[in-house]
């Protein structure tokens, strides 16, 4: 008999681990539109399955919560049951001995508050309010691009049709093929089996194989005129669809070129100019009147635009930046990432040869700035961030890409001052070490650690802690701003109290992704058209190949590959390789065609127009 034994998981434990892994996959894909009350019950049952059973609140309490939720689901619940549910949950939170019971009941309380309407619907009408979304990738894509449709077209080798289909919902297929954050992939049903389809990669395949694809014909002129202020992704999206609907569209852009943050924020090694220009040229080919170097409030006043046009879309983006508000921030050689990347957009690169660069921030812009600094010749680039790497808002791939190229992450260090030399130029960033504290908004709040401050040498400091919106002229014209510093528009894009004025994209939502900007532009186009009393449809005229054999069994996902770090760090050429035909074909066959199988064959397989 051994006194101690080395733990070796037996077969059944391995299957239990596998069960948890499968559960995790299912949780990750989280379909849209399931009954949240049902989910609450399922959650409770899972918690019970994890309970040791020692204590009353957990063993009995969670069982009773589940029974009450079931009763409500069966349409037999009463107001009294809701009350008991709430009271019992509080008691369980208050008296559980460990986290298993306590956190379960705490979550139930959140559910009761968060979707009370769903509970009440079951209670009062015996019916559920939820309605299932058939195709997860399409419903989670802010622009609702017909993803299974274009994947089927890529599979069939009909690349130009794939591009046409994408443009029904998104006029930036080339851009999105490279830099979309692809929320679609997070919910891909394929995740239940192995991993999501490489949707963005396939979009790029469609675009690259198709070459130039003309824009569709515009509808006959409606006689209505629209001004779009700002030639970024949201402005150009709105302009494109409004032009297709037959309206006469004029776009005003303050800078030398169109593209907004796509040109002045995103580095060329991620989005080469030829990709961006291709999309913009197709958009402008619809007969849009395009003006660059025109600033509203300087070259033309907003009231003049209001008078001249039937509808206005304000899409000015977020081209200003947030400040650190620490001593030394105004020193020489301290700049914002917006300035650094903006200069790159105008092809006026700064020289950073031999410099030690410190980038402050933890988002994608910080990664873009640091990787750009490397390419501009910096000797060293450090990203200073006051939280942990795992708390960074930058995409994981951006962080690993930056590290591979030689960017050093300095985490849990809060900048407290920028130290200058006698000439008034930055020489170092003074930082205070941090320790992660209590959670707030899903992330732990950093707190000062019991450690001395440090100095990080820096010849150049780039501040990348967020963008801001400049809308002084619009505020003067009576467009209200929210407390968060964004232009106030409702979910239709309409600016309250201003007939025919819409706003969207970063300037209304705060800095967000390109696909969210496209969503806002599409929404504004539809609603401006409705505002004109019209219902001009953007219709779908590509036939989609029928769904063929199902693919079963796990099949690995083909990820995108990059040029070697040591090579790419010296230039601004595109770092990502396109998929090969072989990879693309495999990815296409991995698509489960949710437009056809499952709920798709019944409802919601495909919207033919919007």
């Amino acid at each position: 008999m051994s006194r101690l034994r080395i733990y070796t998981p037996d077969k059944s434990q391995a299957i239990v681990d596998n069960l948890y892994e499968n559960l995790q996959h299912r949780i990750e894909v989280a379909p849209q539109g399931n009954c949240p009350v049902e989910l609450t019950d399922a959650f409770l049952r899972l918690c019970l399955a994890q309970s040791c059973g020692k204590c009353v609140p957990c063993r009995v309490g969670l069982t009773q919560l589940s029974a009450l939720v079931e009763k409500i689901l069966e349409g037999e619940g009463t107001a009294q049951d809701m009350m008991i549910l709430e009271k019992a949950s509080h008691a369980i939170v208050d008296s559980s001995d460990c986290a298993i019971g306590r956190e379960a009941a705490r979550t139930v309380l959140e559910c009761l508050k968060g979707f009370r309407d769903d509970f009440m619907s079951h209670l009062n009408t015996g019916r559920c309010m939820s309605s299932f979304s058939a195709v997860p990738c399409v419903s989670f894509c802010p622009a609702h691009v017909d993803i299974p449709g274009y994947i089927a077209l890529v599979r069939a080798g009909r690349y130009a049709d794939a591009v046409r289909l994408i443009r029904e919902d998104n006029p930036f297929p080339s851009v999105c093929g490279l830099i979309c954050e692809h929320p679609c992939e997070n919910h891909c049903r394929r995740n239940i089996m192995d991993a999501s389809v490489n949707i963005r990669g396939l979009k790029r395949v469609a675009v690259e194989r198709a070459g130039h694809v003309d824009a569709p014909k515009c509808a006959p002129p409606t006689g209505k005129t629209v001004a779009v202020i700002g030639g970024g992704p949201t402005g150009l999206t709105a302009a494109y669809y409004l032009a297709l609907m037959g309206h006469s569209v004029t776009v005003y852009e303050r800078r030398k070129k169109f593209g907004g943050m796509l040109r002045y924020g995103i580095p060329r090694y991620r989005l080469p100019a030829k990709f961006l220009d291709e999309d913009i040229n197709v958009i402008l080919s619809t007969g849009i009147e395009a003006h660059t170097n025109v600033e509203i409030g300087k070259d033309i006043s907003f009231s003049e635009i209001q008078e001249k046009f039937d509808g206005v879309y304000i899409a000015i983006g977020a081209h200003s930046y947030k400040k650190l508000n620490i001593p030394g921030e105004d020193a020489k050689n301290v700049m914002s990432a917006v300035e650094l990347l903006g200069a790159m957009g105008d092809e006026e690169p700064m020289d950073m040869t031999g410099k030690n660069v410190v980038v402050i921030g933890g988002g994608n812009v910080a990664m873009d700035a640091s990787r750009t600094a490397l390419r501009l010749g910096a000797k060293s680039v450090k990203v200073v961030y006051r939280r942990r790497q795992s708390d960074m808002t930058a995409l994981a791939a951006e962080i690993t890409g930056a590290i591979a190229e030689g960017v050093e992450l300095v985490t849990l260090q809060a900048p407290v001052a920028i130290l200058t030399d006698e000439s008034g130029a930055a020489r170092a960033v003074q930082v205070k070490p941090q320790i992660p504290g209590a959670y707030k908004g899903g992330r732990p709040t950093p707190m000062n650690a019991d450690l001395p401050e440090e100095e990080i040498p820096a010849d150049i400091v780039v501040v990348a802690i967020g963008q801001a919106i400049e809308f002084g002229h619009f505020a003067e014209a009576g467009i209200a701003a929210s407390r968060g510093g964004t232009l106030q528009a409702d979910t239709s894009g309409a600016v309250a109290g201003a007939n025919g004025i819409y706003a969207g994209g970063d300037c209304a939502s705060g800095p967000a992704t390109v696909i969210k900007a496209i969503e806002a532009g599409k929404t504004a186009a539809a609603n401006i058209d409705e505002y004109f009393g019209l219902h001009s449809e953007i219709a779908f005229d590509v036939d989609i190949p029928q769904a063929l054999s199902k693919v079963r069994g796990a099949s690995g996902r083909c990820n995108m590959t990059d040029r070697p770090a040591a090579e790419r760090v010296h230039d601004f050429d595109l770092i990502e390789y396109c998929m090969t035909d072989e990879q693309a074909h495999q990815e296409c066959t991995r698509c489960l065609r949710c437009d056809h199988f499952g709920y798709g064959s019944f409802r919601g397989g495909r919207k033919e127009a919007w």
Binding site: A547, S549, R552, G553, S601
Partner: protein, 573 residues
Amino acid sequence: MVTLTIDGRKVTVKEGTTILEAARQAGIKIPTLCYLKDINQIGACRVCVVEVEGRDQLAASCNAPCEDGMVVRTNTQRVRDTRRLNVEMILSKHNSSCTSCVRSGNCTLQTLARDMNVLELPFPIKPIYREWDHSYPLIRDMSKCVNCMRCVSVCDKVQDMHVWDVTGTGARTAVAVRDRKDIMDAGCTFCGQCITHCPVGALRARDDTLKVFDAIADPDKITVVQVAPAVRAAWGEDFGMSRDEASVPRMVAVLKAIGFDYVFDTDFSADLTIMEEGSEFIERMTHPGEYPMPMFTSCCPGWVRYVKIRHPELAGNLSTAKSPQQMFGAVTKSYFAKKIGVDPEKIFCVSVMPCTAKKYECAVEAVNDAGAGRDVDLSITTREFVRMTKACQIDPMTIGEAEFDDPLGEGTGAAVIFGTTGGVMEAALRSAYFLITGENPDADAFSGVRGLDGWKERTFKAGDITVRTAVANGLGNATKLIDAIQSGKVHYDFVEIMACPTGCGGGGGQPIEEGKELGGARGQKLYALDRTSHTRFSHENSCVQRLYEEYLGAPLSHEAHHLLHTDIKEWKL
């Protein structure tokens, strides 16, 4: 074309054909439950699964397209076991009280269970029960619903009314009236297409047969029954009779054997409708600007409800003439009562209709004018008529033959085609031509409006008048037609619309046969009756002529207006 092998047989079919249809073309039977060709191919019940070589999972043959070189097996142990298990799962949620179910003997699920030899269920039986007001014309029994979604799809895709919806997700997914409404407030037209496309007894029309038997048994009541045109084309189906065997004289004999005192024909009032509606149309045509145009027919209660629900602004376009059912009731409880010298209160007027909406129509206050209770006391469907026949143990093949009674038993060929799409238009045009020109046209002069297309348009000339007509069947087509009229894309003078696809032949009250749309075949029977009828013009109906001479005076007279028209623009649902 693609070629595949099904059960060892080579089959060549058009690209895009499903395995199920390919198998059917080859004479190989695959069982189905949720499948409705072109309307509901959603692969939900998984009863139609088959084995496809090279695939690790069985395929739902109803929505899996054939691929070249595919090898399919429809009758393996694995297929049979899986199908049976799926049927057993469905049965575990189904209230199988077959003995007291209206669909017993005509239930797709019952047939499947029987064919698959399901004798003992491996699962506990736990149907979901929900309350429903059984006084409504349409009754839904949740405990019998198998979630096949056919009702949802028919209402969405064919009728475009979206009354049924899916509520909840997961285990509690259920069919329910949209937006959590009561069916009476949900914009339902009571067309009954969901009923005739339900594979089980989850949807049915209210059964009024016991009330009819009560009236027949009541010595103080004189029972009068009218039979709608389309009933005679369908009533024999449940008895296994051919359309020739199920003749009108046999049908009349059955009704008499059931015990009705007078057996009359709705064809009579259909001819009367033509006189009123035809005259109204000429009035409208010859007084441009005075009436909203085009004029819509108003004999289909599903359509009238549709107008009131969707387009109340077009109610003035509906002909003010009542439907043949209601004209019949009004004449029965006035003219006929007087003629036989009885108090109209004593008359109990029943209609046999191919329709579920007629149950609603006879209860509408505004179409009851004879002043003796409801003009039509009860409306029963063709299916209820069949059930009454069976309840009386009548064998229609041996019952013999009988003629309709006098005077409301005469109908023309023009009236009998009311029961199919385009029939009302054709009948009206035949008489309108006569009223305008003073002479009869060739009876087949307007046959251009026949056919099962969802939306037909034809232009005819009668004397100096050019009439632009349109005919639509199915409410989905009605919506398209109305949209086109309202957007100015089309211009018509006279429009006939029937709520049910193919018209009353495919009515919501007609016999149900799994997988078959019989409206077209029933319509053909009506055209055959028209061809062989003694006269094919409504204005030549001698009983109708007599009614005008003895009682009403002339079409559109004051008395005719009182009894035969309604202020359709005004009354609300």
